[in-house]
Point group: C2
């Protein structure tokens, strides 16, 4: 399934103009160009390529009004529909109609939610529930198929840090996050890695539908344990960068005492003392700001 | 000069919310937070940190209405000002008023135009004229000062491919392009490399103003010779990616016969035959599209 990029950024980071065809199909939801449909066809499997947020794609941003990938709450999905709703909430309702309803027997079996990110996440599968045996088997199959290349699994099951994704409309929601690849950029190696994972995922579904039995398996997963915000000043402004030792080290252990952030003056904040040092920095900065405003 | 990032993208690529202070200063042009003013102070040099396109920064895009870095044409700068002009044209006029007028004796001596890019350009100085001896001396000074680190110089002097940059308002316009670093992301190594180049640039100006004499020098530069667009189908849609062998190889030679683009089916387009193969691909694609629509 090759959804071709409509826009690109030139060397200067400028967004390429829309082609005539794109101008015409602007805002339409069917702007997916499948170059070779065969690639996503499998015996006994119905597949539907789909762009979840065409207006954001058009603008080369994550979203227009509100984050679509947080919008699939019961509240939003059951809200009276109308043009006054944020675009992404309207879109969530449409997607729920096409692929859902969420939680119902009529919902699609699988949604493979294809994302890219500026983080160095490689090719990461995202699993929403440790009880989803179908997905666990699929991920096990994919990991084996692409070895020695790696494909980490991130389990987002968490009492507080979980959110209502687009893919959650299907019975078996699977996220695939590839990176580093900024918005508006298509890197051949990243594209290829996504393509390969998708190929094996579809192969698995075909085999499953053919009745192949899969023996019990275990899958190593990363779990969300904690989220740490950037250091901020009293006004909420970010005042540090990811430390060079930590930058791009996705999926590597971060131990107490390891460098985590770097302040703009070069000071290092470490994992164990982010909180305490931050308090000190804030008060230093406040003093500095006062001194400057005098 | 540390202009702190106001926004950032989280792991999911989501733009961080504006802080309260940011909400208040939204749209104002003075939203630069200089952490340590001393860093840009030099004896006998007046420096003014400035965000050229605050609305674009706020939205985390390159521009709002039109590319500011192409907007400094005589036509735009002399147009009757008014709210009906595109935002960036209004902004170009303001910048011309503050730092110009372009081409006049009152214009600022130097504008150091700080950019980032998704391309692997490293730390590249951009020179607009091979006759600008002041800039050539400065670049020579910077290159020597940061060695063995490299700092390529790109000379954009070209009868057709030159454009009207923001920095062209000053007598000595200098661009500094650092990357790879997408919009909304601040990488400590990229930030540091920009900081170091800026430090040496300011040191040079201080020495120059003190009357230090600089002996004649030569500077190796890259020149713009040709621009090659992405391969596109008959509708203008991009149909290939940068070839993995060429990706990130900024400033390395591209010889006739070298792989340049990769089509989505894996086909390689080489430097010498991009044009001819492209014609063939287009007609193939047309046949395929016809076959699909039948
Ligand atoms: Zn630029
Ligand atoms: Zn994502």
């Amino acid at each position: 399934a090759s959804a071709l990029p409509n826009r690109y950024l030139d060397e200067e980071g400028e967004l390429s103009p829309l082609s005539e065809q794109e101008e015409e199909s602007k805002g339409s939801d069917d702007d997916i160009r499948v170059v070779n449909g065969k690639e996503i066809q499998r015996k006994g499997v119905e597949t539907k390529p789909f762009i979840t947020n065409p207006r954001a794609v058009e603008k080369c941003t994550r979203y227009v009004d509100t984050d679509l990938n947080r919008a699939f709450t019961t509240e939003n999905l059951s809200a009276p529909s109308g043009d006054d709703l944020p675009y992404e909430v309207q879109r969530a309702q449409q997607i729920n109609e096409i692929f859902g309803p969420k939680g119902s027997p009529e919902a699609y079996d699988v949604i493979f939610d294809l994302h890219n990110t500026t983080s160095n996440m490689g090719c990461t599968l995202i699993l929403e529930s440790s009880k989803d045996h179908f997905n666990l088997q699929m991920m096990h199959y994919i990991k084996k198929a692409i070895a020695p290349d790696s494909c980490p699994v991130l389990l987002t099951e968490h009492p507080l840090l979980k959110y209502s994704t687009s893919r959650s409309v299907a019975k078996h929601p699977i996220g695939l996050e590839v990176g580093p690849q900024p918005q508006g950029v298509l890197r051949s190696n990243i594209f290829e890695s996504m393509r390969v994972v998708l190929k094996h995922a579809l192969d698995f579904i075909e085999l499953f539908n053919e009745g192949l039995e899969f023996p019990p398996c275990t899958v190593d997963v990363f779990r969300v344990s904690e989220k740490i915000d950037y250091p901020r000043d009293t006004n909420g402004n970010i005042i540090a960068m990811v430390h060079p030792n930590l930058q791009d080290c996705d999926w590597e252990p971060l131990n107490p005492g390891d460098p985590m952030f770097q302040m703009f003056d070069g000071t290092t904040l470490r994992y164990e003392d982010v909180e305490t040092k931050l308090e000190k920095c804030k008060s230093n900065l406040k003093t500095l700001q006062q001194a400057l405003s005098e």
